[in-house]
C-alpha cells in the first residue's frame, strides 16, 4: 500500500487507469473534504508510529489490554480485531457501515468498526463483546438478551449488545419508540427486534432505578 492516503490534496490524475491510481486520487479527494480532522488524526498517529506505509507495528488497547499487531495502515479496525487479534465476536456483515454487526465501543462511544482504520484507533480504549462481561459475570444486557431470546442465529448479536449498552448509557432507551429508533442502526435478519427491544428496555429500567 502506498502512503498517499494522508497526502495533502493534489492534482494527481490517473495515468494508467489502474485501481492504485484511483486510490491515490480518492485519497486526495478525501483529504480535501476532511482535511482538518485528518491532519489532527495524522498528528496523533505519529505519536505511535513514525511511518504509515506498508506493514507496520501498531498498538491497540482492546478490552483493557494493549496488543501489538503488524498490519498495513489500510486495515480496518474490524479486520484488525477479527483477523489479527482473533477477536471474532465482532462480526462483519456488510463492511460498509450499513448493518451494525461490527459495532464496538471506542472511548465509550459506539462506532461501526468497519468504517475506521485500526491505525486511527491507537491510544483509544476499544471495547468489544469479548470485554463486556466481568470475568464469568455477564453484563446485565447479555443476561437480558438470553432471557428475552433477543437473537436467533447470533450473528448480529454482538453488535446489537454493544449498541444496546451504549443506547442505555446515552439515555436513548427511555421509551419503546425512542429505543427502537436508536437501535435501528443494527440489522437483525432473523427478526428478533421485539425481543431486542425488551432486553434493552429492561436494562434501561434497571439502570434508571439504580
Amino acid at each position: 500500500m502506498d502512503n498517499n492516503f494522508f497526502d495533502k490534496p493534489s492534482s494527481n490524475q490517473p495515468s494508467d487507469g489502474s485501481r492504485r491510481s484511483f486510490m491515490k486520487q480518492a485519497g486526495g479527494i478525501v483529504g480535501l473534504a476532511m482535511a482538518p480532522p485528518f491532519v489532527a488524526q495524522a498528528e496523533r498517529l505519529t505519536a505511535f508510529s513514525k511511518t504509515v506505509a506498508g506493514v507496520s507495528p501498531m498498538q491497540l488497547k482492546v478490552n483493557g489490554t494493549v496488543r501489538t499487531i503488524q498490519a498495513e495502515p489500510r486495515v480496518t479496525l474490524l479486520d484488525a480485531l477479527r483477523e489479527h487479534l482473533h477477536l471474532t465476536g465482532t462480526k462483519k456483515g456488510c463492511d460498509h457501515g450499513q448493518c451494525g454487526a461490527c459495532t464496538v465501543h471506542v472511548n465509550g462511544r459506539r462506532i461501526v468498526s468497519c468504517l475506521t482504520l485500526a491505525i486511527m484507533n491507537q491510544g483509544k480504549e476499544i471495547t468489544t463483546i469479548e470485554g463486556l462481561a466481568r470475568g464469568s459475570e455477564l453484563h446485565p444486557l447479555q443476561e437480558a438478551f438470553i432471557k428475552h431470546d433477543a437473537f436467533q442465529c447470533g450473528y448480529c448479536t454482538s453488535g446489537q449488545i454493544m449498541s444496546g449498552v451504549a443506547c442505555v448509557q446515552e439515555g436513548h432507551a427511555t421509551t419503546d419508540n425512542q429505543c427502537r429508533e436508536w437501535m435501528s442502526g443494527n440489522i437483525c435478519r432473523c427478526g428478533a427486534y421485539p425481543n431486542i427491544l425488551a432486553a434493552v428496555r429492561e436494562v434501561a429500567g434497571q439502570q434508571a432505578k439504580g
Binding site: 500500500m1 460498509h96 468489544t128 469479548e130 442465529c153 435478519r189 427478526g191 427486534y193
Partner: protein, 773 residues
C-alpha cells in the same frame, strides 16, 4: 423394555417449556464460532473478481498486475483453475452433484452468463492484498445484449411443460375449472407482481478450505446442509466421501440461500489445494446478491369463482417468472391453492423466461410464501366484493378434508387458530368498510391471512452415548440456523434420558456425525428430535437387555417387554419396587458408557414404518395430508399525505404440532412475520434493464426491516401434537411462519386506504399513486 412408538411428555419434563437457549451464552459473549472464524496456521485469503457485463465472452484476462502485488500467491481464471472431477455444467454432472442447485460452475469457460459472475479468484496472504489484487486483474469482454427478466422486450416466455428442476412445474388441473368459472356467480381476477427478493442473512457466505493431506480436506462452510455439501464436494473433487469433511458449528442465518452448495465454496476449496495452504473466502455483501441465489421476480394471476355466499367454486393460478440460462427453476406458487380451502375446481400453471441471471433458489417457504399472496389477497378481494368479513369467508371455505386428495388431515388446528387470533386481536370490532377508520390523521387498517406449509418427508440419524457418570453426548450432522436446534434437541434428550439439561451435550454441524437432513423445508426440528428420541429408546433397549441378563440386577430374568423407564431408571411394570438406575447397571457391568442409534422418518412414510413395526394384523395405513397451519393478523397505520405504511400491531396463532420450546418457537414466528413485513413493504432487488445488473445490491439499497419498523408482536400456539407425522409429533414452524404474512400486510393496507396495491413492495409512491385501484 416395552416397544416405543411415540414420545410422551414426562411429568416435570422440559420439552415444550420456554427454556433459554443452550448456546445463548456463547452467542452473547462472542464465543460462537462461525465458518470464517477458524484461526488456522498459514491461513490465506481469497477474493473474487466478478464480471462487469451480464452476457458475452471474455476476450482476454490478464493476471500480471495482480500477481505483481506483494503477498499475492496465485490468480485463478478459467485458463488455469484446477480441473474438477465433475461439474454441474452437464445434465449428468448436475444429477451426480445433487446438492449443487445451479447447473453452472464459473471459471470453467470464457462465456459470461450473468452480471457479477466470478471470473477470477485471487489468493494472497492478507484480506486487503487479495481484495486489491482482484481489482487489478485486467479483463476485456466481447459484450452481447443481455435479457434482464421475463418482463424484458427480448425475453421469450415459455411453458416448461413439466421440465422444471426440483419442482416440475407441470400444469395441474382438478375438476373442470373453466366450466365452473363460467358458471360461478361471482368472479375476481387479480395479478400480483413481485420483485426479486434476497435472503441477506447477516453472515455472508463464507468458507475456509483446509487440505490436511493431498487427498483429504476439511471445509468450514456457512451451510444449512453439511452432509449434502460433503457428498457434493466429494463428487466435484473426485474424492471418497469420507475424505471430505464439512463443518458448520454456527451459521449466521440462511433462510434457504445456504441450503445448497454454491460455486464460491468449490472455488475456495480448489484454490486451497492449488496453493497448498488453507484459504478463506468470505463473500462481500455485494457479492451476496450474485452468489447464493434469490427469490425470483414473478407475477401471478389468480382467478376466483364463487357463489353469492362466498363459497369458492374455482381457483385458477398462473405464474410467470425469470429463470437462468441453464436451469428451469421456479417456486411452485400454485401448490398451496390446492389444499388451503375447500374448492372443487382448481388449476395451476407456470411459465418462465430465461434471462441473464443466476438460478433463483429456495427462500423461506418457497412457493407457499408468494403463492399465499395470490390466494390470501385474492380471497380478501372476493370478500370485499361480497361485503363479507375476511375471516368469515375463510370459515365458509374451511377444508375439513384435503381438497387436493380427499384425504383426512393428520391434524388441523386452524379453526382454533382463527378463533384465538381473532380474540387476541379484537378482530370482531373491525369496520367492514375500508378507508374510513382513523387514528388522528392516520388511516388504520386491519388485515389477516391464513398460513400453511407441508410436513415434508425427511429422515435422519442420531447417536446417543450415555455415560455411567450420568452425562450424555448426543450427535447428529444437523445445523442450527438460529432456529433453536441446539436447545430443543437438548430438551428432548434430557427428558428421554431422565437427566437434567445441563448433563446433556448436543453436538451438531459436522459431516463426520450421523447424517441428519439439511436444515430447510421445516424438517430439522421434526426429524432431528425424532431421531434423537429413537436413539435414546435404543439406549434403553440395550440397557434393558443388559439388566435382564445380570444376576445382580433387580430386573434379572424379567421379560424385556415388562421393563419400563421412569426418569433415569429401569422399572419392572408388574412390580415397580424392582428398579435400577442405569448408572448402577453400567458400573456393575464395567461399562463406561453405552451407545444407541436412531433413524427417524418424518412425514409420509412414518406411519407405514410404525404399522410395519407394530405388526398388528388388520392394521391399515390411512393416507393423511400433513400440514402446519396458522393465521396472522396485522394492523397498519397509513399516512394519507406521505403514503408511508407502519405496522402497528401483529398477532400470530400457529398450529405446528408439538412445540418443543415456546420461547424459541415464538422467535421463529416473529422472525418469519418480520421477513414478510419486509417483503410486503420494502424489499426488492432492482435490475438495470439494459445491463441486467443490480442497482441496489447492498444493505443501504436493499431495505430490510429495522427495529423502528416493528411493533410489539403477539404469538401463541395451539397446543397439540400430531401422532401421524413423526415420533415427536412435530410439524415444523420455520417456513409456515412467513406464509400469509405478506398478504396480511397488503390486506391491512387495503383496509386502511381502500386501495389495492398489487405490486410489491408497497412503497409510498404506490400507496399515493394512481396505479392502485
Amino acid at each position: 423394555m416395552t416397544d416405543f412408538s411415540a414420545f410422551e411428555p414426562s411429568k416435570g419434563g422440559v420439552v415444550g417449556q420456554p427454556v433459554n437457549r443452550v448456546d445463548g451464552h456463547a452467542k452473547v459473549t462472542g464465543q460462537a464460532q462461525y465458518a470464517a472464524e477458524y484461526a488456522l496456521p498459514n491461513l490465506t485469503y481469497a477474493a473474487l473478481k466478478t464480471s462487469s457485463i451480464a452476457k458475452g465472452r471474455i476476450k482476454s484476462i490478464d493476471p500480471a498486475a495482480a500477481l505483481r502485488e506483494p503477498g499475492v500467491l496465485a490468480v485463478f481464471t478459467h485458463e488455469n483453475l484446477p480441473k474438477m472431477a465433475q461439474t454441474p455444467n452437464t445434465l449428468a454432472g448436475k444429477y451426480a452433484i445433487y446438492g449443487m442447485h445451479m447447473a453452472f460452475m464459473p471459471l470453467t469457460g470464457n462465456e459470461i452468463f450473468y452480471s457479477a459472475q466470478p471470473v477470477a479468484v485471487v489468493v494472497a496472504d492478507t484480506f486487503e492484498r487479495a481484495t486489491q489484487a482482484a481489482a487489478l486483474v485486467q479483463v476485456t469482454y466481447e459484450q452481447a445484449r443481455p435479457v434482464a427478466s421475463y418482463q424484458s422486450a427480448n425475453a421469450e416466455v415459455f411453458d416448461p411443460n413439466g421440465q422444471g428442476y426440483v419442482f416440475d412445474l407441470k400444469k395441474v388441473v382438478r375438476g373442470n375449472p373453466q366450466a365452473s368459472l363460467a358458471a360461478s356467480a361471482v368472479q375476481v381476477k387479480a395479478t400480483y407482481v413481485h420483485p426479486i427478493n434476497h435472503h441477506n442473512p447477516m453472515e455472508p457466505g463464507a468458507t475456509i478450505a483446509h487440505w490436511e493431506a493431498p487427498d483429504r480436506v476439511t471445509v468450514y462452510d456457512s451451510t444449512q446442509a453439511v452432509a449434502m455439501s460433503q457428498s457434493s464436494l466429494a463428487t466435484i473433487l473426485g474424492l471418497p466421501q469420507e475424505q471430505v469433511r464439512v463443518v458448520t458449528k454456527f451459521i449466521g442465518g440462511g433462510f434457504g440461500c445456504k441450503f445448497n452448495l454454491w460455486p464460491h465454496t468449490v472455488l475456495a476449496t480448489l484454490a486451497a489445494k492449488a496453493v497448498g495452504r488453507p484459504v478463506k473466502l468470505v463473500l462481500t455483501r455485494q457479492q451476496m446478491f450474485t452468489s447464493l441465489g434469490h427469490r425470483e421476480d414473478q407475477e401471478q394471476t389468480i382467478t376466483l369463482g364463487a357463489t353469492k355466499e362466498g363459497k369458492l367454486t374455482t381457483l385458477i393460478h398462473e405464474k410467470t417468472s425469470t429463470t437462468s440460462p441453464w436451469d428451469i427453476f421456479a417456486e411452485p406458487n400454485g401448490a398451496i391453492l390446492n389444499w388451503l380451502y375447500a374448492c372443487p375446481n382448481y388449476q395451476s400453471s407456470h411459465r418462465v423466461a430465461r434471462a441473464n441471471v443466476m438460478t433463483s433458489t429456495y427462500m423461506r417457504a418457497p412457493g407457499e410464501s408468494p403463492g399465499s399472496v395470490a390466494i390470501e389477497c385474492g380471497l380478501d378481494e372476493l370478500a370485499a366484493k361480497l361485503n363479507l368479513d375476511p375471516l368469515e369467508i375463510r370459515l365458509r371455505n374451511y377444508a375439513n378434508l384435503d381438497p387436493g386428495t380427499g384425504q383426512p388431515w393428520s391434524s388441523k388446528g386452524l379453526k382454533e387458530c382463527y378463533a384465538r387470533g381473532a380474540e387476541l386481536f379484537g378482530w370482531g370490532k373491525r369496520n367492514l368498510q375500508p378507508g374510513v377508520t382513523r387514528d388522528g390523521r392516520l388511516l388504520v387498517g386491519w388485515g389477516m391471512a391464513t398460513a400453511s406449509y407441508p410436513v415434508r418427508p425427511a429422515q435422519g440419524r442420531a447417536r446417543v452415548r450415555l455415560y455411567a457418570d450420568g452425562h450424555a453426548l448426543v450427535q447428529t450432522s444437523a445445523t442450527d440456523l438460529g432456529t433453536g436446534t441446539y436447545t430443543v434437541i437438548t430438551q428432548v434428550a434430557a427428558d428421554a434420558l431422565g437427566l437434567p439439561m445441563a448433563n446433556v451435550r448436543f453436538e451438531l454441524g459436522d459431516s463426520t456425525l450421523p447424517t441428519a437432513p439439511a436444515s430447510g423445508s421445516s424438517v430439522a426440528a421434526a426429524t432431528v428430535s425424532s431421531s434423537v428420541y429413537l436413539a435414546i429408546q435404543d439406549v434403553w433397549q440395550r440397557l434393558t437387555a443388559l439388566a435382564v441378563r445380570d444376576s445382580q440386577s433387580p430386573l434379572f430374568k424379567a421379560l424385556p417387554a415388562d421393563v419400563v423407564r421412569e426418569q433415569d431408571q429401569l422399572v419392572l411394570r408388574t412390580n415397580p419396587s424392582k428398579r435400577e438406575k442405569f448408572s448402577a447397571l453400567l458400573q456393575r457391568q464395567g461399562l463406561a458408557d453405552i451407545e444407541g442409534v436412531g433413524n427417524s422418518k418424518s412425514g409420509e412414510g412414518y406411519e407405514a414404518d410404525q404399522i410395519a413395526f407394530d405388526n398388528k394384523p388388520g392394521t391399515k395405513q390411512t393416507k393423511r395430508s400433513m400440514y402446519s397451519f396458522g393465521v396472522h393478523f396485522c394492523e397498519v397505520k397509513v399516512d394519507p399525505d406521505l403514503g408511508t405504511v407502519h405496522v402497528t400491531r401483529w398477532v400470530s396463532v400457529m398450529d405446528g404440532g408439538r412445540i418443543l420450546n415456546t420461547k424459541t418457537a415464538r422467535s421463529q414466528i416473529i422472525g418469519g412475520s418480520i421477513m414478510g413485513i419486509g417483503a410486503a413493504l420494502m424489499e426488492g432487488t432492482n435490475r438495470d434493464e439494459q445491463y441486467a445488473r443490480y442497482t441496489n445490491a447492498d444493505l443501504a439499497g436493499y431495505h430490510v426491516p429495522i427495529n423502528a419498523d416493528i411493533p410489539d408482536m403477539q404469538v401463541e400456539f395451539i397446543d397439540g401434537h400430531d401422532p401421524y407425522v413423526n415420533a415427536m409429533g412435530v410439524k415444523g414452524i420455520g417456513e409456515v411462519a412467513m406464509v400469509g404474512t405478506v398478504a396480511a400486510v397488503a390486506n391491512a393496507v387495503y383496509h386502511a386506504t381502500g386501495k389495492r396495491v398489487r405490486s410489491f413492495p408497497i412503497v409510498p409512491s404506490k400507496v399515493l399513486g394512481s396505479d392502485a385501484v
